[in-house]
């Protein structure tokens, strides 16, 4: 199927090697002699490199082995030794080998993932007793006697030595892979894994290609370019090493090396003819899996006349039925005996490239993947996986009745290693996306982070088409960054929620939906639902019967799908109560428990919720308090870290600015806009980098500041009609502060972070504009434009006013205009009446004074 003789990729190789015909004796003999020397040291045959292309053996029928029961008449015994190794042996055949000769005693399992079923090399092997996979050996012109596998530059001996050295010496002290949990990072990594194999008995060794690369770049290159030759060599090497070290261990079959994480190709879209027959790693989503396909490897024929039996191996997907019985010379007397033929398991899997990898306006590509033996049924439709395998192209079968051929190849990947990307997420480890940043990109990001106004800049880059709402954008920005994930499972509290939940509540037409849309478009794993159109099952998960397999399968809903992402829920208020109730668990415990139709499970849903709702009467009723307007249960409200009120101020100055902004959308050119704002890709990278690499911790001062802030919040929250503060809000403050320090790429949460968190929390609820006595939001305060500078100025004026009053001494009541004049006299800047009013209001908020009509009275 994919041997060098039939694959197009094979053509491109071997330019440097001598294309000697496979049967040429001269250059091959030295190697074969050397081989023999090696062989005798480790047992008298070298099974692995020879087996893959030659024979397939189903584990289901291992005892049916012709080598022992009925040797093929045509094959001389010594060739049996070389090409069709003993390790096909049944468990009983292991008895033959002494316990010490481990390699010999353990059956090898064929690797259909690597080998081809083609018999072409087999022919070579039979004429030429030497152990390389592809039969012939040529010598590199320059290297004189250095021998390599035909068509490659791989020297088996060197390659084996190198790999053994790699196994024995490779240490990765900085390893963070979950697979290496429990291993001593300062000891050779793979030796520990071999030890694990000897204990557990699962004869699979997964090898990270990056490790090979960092250890020996040349070996890595060979692995990538000639996987079909190199991996069997690796197998051979690892088995020698293993049985040398653990001579008494008994494995089901010989260890197979499964490399993963090859850097060659990351993206399905980049696959091109150069990748044929090379080792590649691509990511994608499984969309279909076929049933198990028993693939015939060897057919068993029996003569109906004389009961003579013969075996025919698959050749390029076909079995040539013998026309004449060799024993009794009857023609057409041979019948296939199915249950004595040999089969191997095979499964076709279709994967589709993940939506994130695709350019706009294109449809996703799909690729066919074949899984063999124990990789069958390892993945299910819907899984996101990384596949390492060999990319193959097979010419379309020529129709015997037609002289011409379709000039198209069928491509597929023979999978060697699956790695589910979901699985990691389910285990609750770090974010799955190990996004790779180039040095320069990291540098740019860090430069950006060093700017003092990075927070404002990023906030402004968020949804630039939406006017103002700076604080809301800041809130959403912090949500995108998220808090630090903490694990308290040892003390019994489990994981702390690190994701922020935000509720936008406000008048219609205040671009809530647009903000949601934007966020949904920005984050890699976002889901957008509308409360009206969602049912509880649509959000969580539902059980359905798969029409094909008739099995019950769990279909996950929006919340589960947005694990590690953001779930945007529009029309939150229109959601039915029962639907909303499923959010309780998700929004605090971040899990989802399901008990239906015989499936009881708990799914992770570590999602941030960004919800948008209208006030209870569609429009904000200024006569009502905040809580009356929102009208959501306290249980739910307290789970939101930030609740933003988005009110339409209905003020001329505001409208003018808004209009200006809208008009500019229409006349500014694309380039002008680009200049003004950071682009979306930059923002995305910045967030991804911060999420992955920055894990801030609280500093001492920050802790103190948080305590202060919480006590303050409790005080304010007890006011009439306000959203009261629960300990949850303290956690929210912590998360917000952490997120803010993430924005600065700081590993320490400092007081400024807490300050901003506090400010945002207060601003969100317009607490500054709320009359604490009545609980009403004072729209007129909002219209004055609560920008940071304005507030600062107001603060200054208030302080100045306070001084003026204090200077007056103990006068309990003052005339309004008198006071204004006094203030004007003292101030260097012009004081308008509005500013004066504001200052009065600020002081009355502090309970310093009270204004009744035109009289100002001091309190306390």
């Amino acid at each position: 199927m994919s041997s060098p003789t039939s694959t197009p990729g094979g053509r491109k190789r071997g330019r440097t090697t001598n294309p000697s015909t496979p049967s040429s004796e001269g250059p091959t003999s030295p190697l074969s002699q050397r081989r023999r020397g090696l062989d005798s040291s480790a047992g008298d045959l070298m099974p692995m490199p020879t087996s893959p292309p030659t024979d397939m053996l189903s584990p289901a029928a291992p005892q049916d082995n012709s080598l022992f029961s009925s040797p093929r008449p045509s094959v001389p015994p010594n060739e049996v030794d070389m090409s069709s190794p003993l390790m096909y042996g049944t468990p009983s055949s292991r008895v033959e080998g002494t316990p010490r000769s481990g390699v010999r005693g353990t059956p090898a399992r064929q690797r259909p993932d690597l080998g081809s079923v083609s018999k072409a090399p087999q022919v070579d092997l039979q004429y030429e007793p030497q152990p390389n996979a592809d039969g012939a050996v040529g010598s590199e012109p320059n290297a004189g006697q250095r021998l390599v596998i035909w068509g490659t530059d791989v020297n088996v001996g060197t390659c084996k030595e190198k790999f053994q050295r790699f196994l024995q010496r490779f240490i990765d002290p900085s390893s963070t892979e979950d697979e290496n949990a429990g291993l001593d990072l300062n000891e050779p990594l793979y030796m520990q894994k071999l030890e694990e194999i000897s204990v557990v008995g699962d004869p699979v060794l997964n090898v990270n290609c990056l490790h090979v690369q960092s250890f020996d770049a040349e070996l890595y290159r060979q692995l990538i370019c000639y996987p079909q030759e190199v991996i069997p060599t690796f197998d051979m090497a690892v088995n020698e090493l293993f049985f040398e070290r653990f001579p008494d261990s008994i494995l089901e079959y010989q260890i197979q090396v499964r490399p993963y994480n090859a850097l060659k190709t990351r993206n399905m879209r980049n696959l091109n003819p150069e990748d044929i027959d090379q080792l590649i790693t691509i990511s994608g989503m499984v969309i279909r899996t076929s049933q198990l396909i028993p693939e015939m490897q060897e057919a068993f024929f029996q003569c109906q006349v004389c009961a003579f039996s013969t075996r025919v191996e698959v050749d390029r997907g076909r079995i040539a039925e013998p026309a004449v019985c060799r024993h009794c010379n009857t023609t057409h007397s041979l019948a296939l005996v199915h249950n004595r033929s040999l089969f191997s398991d095979k499964q076709m899997i279709k994967i589709q490239e993940s939506p994130d990898d695709m350019p706009a306006g294109q449809t996703p590509h799909t690729t066919v993947v074949y899984a063999h033996n124990d990789l069958v049924d390892k993945v299910q439709p819907g899984d996101r996986i990384n596949i390492t395998g060999v990319f193959r192209a097979v010419p379309m079968r020529a129709n015997p009745r037609q002289s011409n051929v379709k000039s198209v190849y069928k491509t597929h990947i023979d999978v060697i290693h699956f790695r589910k990307t979901d699985e990691k997420r389910l285990h609750g480890l770090d974010d799955a996306e190990q996004k790779l940043f180039t040095e320069e990109r990291v540098q740019t990001l860090k430069e950006l982070a060093a700017k003092p106004d990075v927070y404002e800049r990023l906030a402004a880059a968020l949804a630039p088409s939406i006017y103002e709402h700076e604080d809301i954008k800041k809130g959403i920005l912090l949500q995108l960054f998220g808090g630090t994930r903490k694990d308290f499972s040892k003390t019994g509290r489990g994981h702390f929620r690190a994701d922020l939940n935000i509720l936008l509540c406000g008048d219609p037409g205040t671009s809530k939906s647009q903000l949601l849309r934007y966020v949904f478009n920005l984050v890699p794993r976002g889901q957008y639902t509308s409360g009206k159109g969602s049912s509880a099952v649509g959000l969580t998960a539902y059980v359905m019967k798969d029409p094909e397999t008739r099995q019950l399968v769990l279909q996950t809903g929006a919340l589960v799908l947005s694990d590690n992402g953001i779930c945007c829920i529009d029309e939150f208020d229109k959601m039915s109560d029962s639907t909303r109730s499923v959010l309780h668990e998700v929004m605090e415990q971040q899990t989802l428990s399901i008990a239906k139709a015989g499936i009881i499970c708990q799914l992770n849903a570590r999602t941030s919720v960004l919800a948008a709702a209208n006030p209870i009467e569609s429009q904000w009723n200024p006569k009502k308090t905040t809580i009356e307007n929102i009208q959501l249960p306290h249980t739910l409200l307290s789970r939101f870290d930030l609740i933003f009120l988005m009110l339409d101020p209905q003020d001329e100055a505001y409208d003018r600015r808004l209009a200006h902004h809208l008009v500019s959308l229409y006349y500014k050119s694309e380039e002008q806009m680009e200049e003004e704002y950071l682009d979306m890709a930059m923002l995305r990278d910045y967030i991804a980098y911060a999420r992955t690499y920055v894990t801030p911790r609280l500093s001492e001062e920050a802790g103190q500041a948080l305590i202060e802030a919480y006590v303050d919040m409790r005080k304010i929250g007890s006011g009439r009609g306000m959203v009261s503060a629960y300990p949850r809000q303290l956690e929210a403050l912590i998360r917000l502060s952490e997120a803010h320090s993430k924005v600065r790429f700081s590993d320490k949460v400092e007081t400024i972070d807490v300050e901003e968190a506090k400010r945002l929390h207060r601003e969100a609820l317009k607490q500054s504009a709320t009359d604490p006595r009545t609980g009403f939001v004072d729209i007129s305060i909002l219209t004055t434009g609560m920008s940071a500078t304005a507030r600062k100025r107001r603060e200054e004026v208030a302080q100045a006013l306070k001084k003026v009053i204090q200077a007056k001494g103990k006068a309990p009541a003052m005339k309004y205009y008198q006071l204004l004049d006094d203030l004007r006299g003292q101030s260097e800047t012009a004081i308008t009446k509005e500013m004066f009013d504001e200052a009065l209001r600020a002081l009355s908020d502090e309970d310093y004074l009270t204004v009744t009509g035109k009289t100002v009275r001091l309190l306390a």
Binding site: P8, R11, I276, G317, T363, N399, K406, S407, P508, Y518
Partner: protein, 570 residues
């Protein structure tokens, strides 16, 4: 003068000549040269009109291996394909090995020596192309009339011969079909495939999935469409194309019968072939349909079609712009004429006509993050019965492509609007919302009656809403949806206010004063109106006069329409 047109009749010969000439020259870059050769030829004055078009010449009149053109719409993109770019084959007579070119071919001529070291593997992509959905007869005729290709077997060939009678069919359809057949709008059932033979053949084998399940579903976005579809093989600039793009392709026609994978003999042998069994029969049927129905087209050159209007100069000339731009005087008189025509159609409502013009010239010209700018969806409410059909018939004469969707309950519940990925056949099953840019989508809401919308219906209505508000369609990929931006002019005719979000223009005068404060949406709308107004007058920048006029129009419009009811009344 057959010799000069060799590149049309035998383009493969040209390609092979270049290939052969390049053999002894390293880095000859013959492929780029070949592409440039055809491009140059086609850009010669009117040369492209001499190339026969698949759109108006029946397939069996076109010799295989000749250069043809096809005005088409990329409906689906298949996976990349590896093919033998060059191969070695034994010459049947001499037995000598010859290196041959496999580019622009589906089938190799003779037994290929796959073991040869000279075999070259290359990559190409396959796009599934259909005629431009909803293209109106006058546009087809216009394109056909400009063609000067001579097609050999039929000397008396006249593409528009039977046009008249089709038009008459049309009128009947208009009134009856929407009620009786949920799958067909009053789209012309027979498009300008102007040949009788061809028509009869198609009538004998109707291509609807329901009518003949065994028959090939050509996967047209709109029901009731006719015309050839083809598998386009793209060699150069494979990533430059996007789904739903309208292009005019010049390519080599390939109709070898060997291409249809579903010959009955093959089915049995595929059981033995482990690789063959992996493809479902359905997938094979879709990806290798009989070449007589779905010809293969090997692209040599393609030009994008920005407007699809035969009366306008083709693409590329636009940047020159000096060529035929009319004088301001001509323009305003044409505008006035159009206005009076539309007022007539709209029963004398000049304001509605003014808005209709604005709607017709509207176009999504850019997107600010998710916000499409320039869309102008129009809702004509208060339409008398049967009026929408009449309006649509007038509209069809104005726009190059359009589609009438009667929003009957039955239609809404049954019609497939959103394209879905069919993983069984590995293709994108088209839906009526898969439309080329600037297609007019006419929604007749007056046909909506009381009743129950089933889940499909709800999805369909949601899809229409998304299309109108965001100018995008979320294609259903079963595991996830994928959004595709589009640029479709939606016009809704309804009796009352439409349930879909749109700019509304009340058709019957209603006098309700509702001075509301200007919301941001209103301002957005005003700006769009003003912009379109200046576009419709041929201005390149917005003048204060246009702005005043826009304000006036909006005021008039608002004075007629009732204030929108609060959506979320408690």
């Amino acid at each position: 003068m057959p010799s000069t047109d060799d590149w049309i009749h035998n383009p493969l010969g040209v390609v092979e000549g270049m290939f052969a000439a390049s053999q002894n020259v390293p880095d000859s870059g013959w492929e780029a040269k070949a592409v440039a050769f055809f491009k140059d030829r086609l850009e010669e004055k009117d040369a492209h009109t001499r190339v026969p078009s698949l759109n108006d010449v029946p397939l069996h009149y076109l010799p295989p291996g000749s250069l043809v053109r096809f005005r088409c719409f990329i409906q689906d993109m298949f996976d990349p394909e590896f093919y033998t770019g060059a191969y070695e084959a034994a010459d049947p007579t001499t037995g000598a090995k010859v290196l041959r070119c496999g580019k622009y071919r589906d089938v190799t001529d003779c037994a290929v020596d796959f073991n040869s070291g000279n075999t070259l593997t290359a990559e190409r992509r396959t796009f599934y192309c259909v005629p431009i959905p909803g293209e109106n007869p006058w546009a087809k005729e216009g394109f056909a009339a400009s063609s000067r290709a001579r097609v050999a077997p039929s000397t008396s060939y006249a593409p528009t011969r039977q046009k008249r009678s089709y038009e008459e069919d049309d009128d009947d359809d208009m009134d009856t079909q929407p009620q009786t057949q949920p799958h067909t709008g009053p789209q012309s059932p027979t498009e300008a495939r102007g040949n009788g033979d061809c028509k009869r053949r198609e009538k004998a084998a109707p291509c609807g999935p329901a009518a003949a399940p065994a028959h090939l579903d050509l996967n047209f976005p709109l029901p009731g469409e006719k015309g050839p579809s083809c598998l386009l093989k793209v060699y150069e600039e494979r990533d430059g194309f996007t789904l739903n793009e309208a292009v005019e392709v010049f390519g080599i026609l390939s109709v070898s019968p060997a291409l249809g994978a579903l010959a009955d003999g093959d089915a049995s042998s595929s059981l033995l072939d482990p690789a063959g069994a992996m493809e479902t029969a359905e997938e094979q049927r879709v990806h290798s349909p009989p070449a007589s129905l779905v010809p293969r087209l090997h692209m040599l050159h393609a030009t994008p079609l920005p407007h699809g209007n035969p009366l306008l100069p083709a693409a590329g000339l636009e940047d020159g712009s000096a060529c035929s731009s009319p004088s301001p005087g001509e323009l305003s008189s044409a505008r006035a004429e159009l206005l009076s025509f539309l007022s007539g159609v709209l029963l004398g409502d000049a304001l509605a006509a003014e808005y209709l013009i604005l709607h017709l010239v509207s176009n999504v010209y850019t997107r600010r993050d998710v916000l499409p700018l320039g869309k102008f969806t129009l809702n004509l409410s208060g339409c008398p019965a049967a009026f929408p059909e009449r309006l649509y018939r007038a509209l069809r004469q104005l726009v190059p492509s359009s589609y009438y969707l009667a929003m009957t309950l039955q239609n809404m519940n049954q019609v497939r609007l959103v394209p879905t990925k069919d993983y069984g056949a590995n293709r994108l099953r088209s839906g009526a919302l898969q439309l080329a840019r600037n297609t007019s989508l006419f929604l007749d809401e007056s046909r909506l009656e009381q009743g129950q919308l089933d889940p499909t219906g709800v999805r369909n209505i949601t899809a229409l809403g998304t299309l109108i508000s965001w100018q995008k369609v979320d294609y259903d990929f079963s595991f996830h949806t994928m959004e595709f931006s589009c640029n479709v002019n939606v016009i809704i005719a309804s009796e009352g206010r439409s349930l879909l979000p749109a700019v509304e223009d009340d058709f019957v005068a209603m006098r309700k004063e509702a001075p509301q404060s200007v919301s941001p949406e209103d301002l957005h709308r005003m700006l769009v109106v003003a912009r379109l107004l200046s576009v419709s007058r041929g201005h390149t920048s917005l003048s204060p006069a246009d702005w005043l006029r826009a304000k006036q129009l909006e005021l008039l419009r608002r004075s007629r329409t009732p204030p929108p009811p609060r959506l979320n009344e408690p």
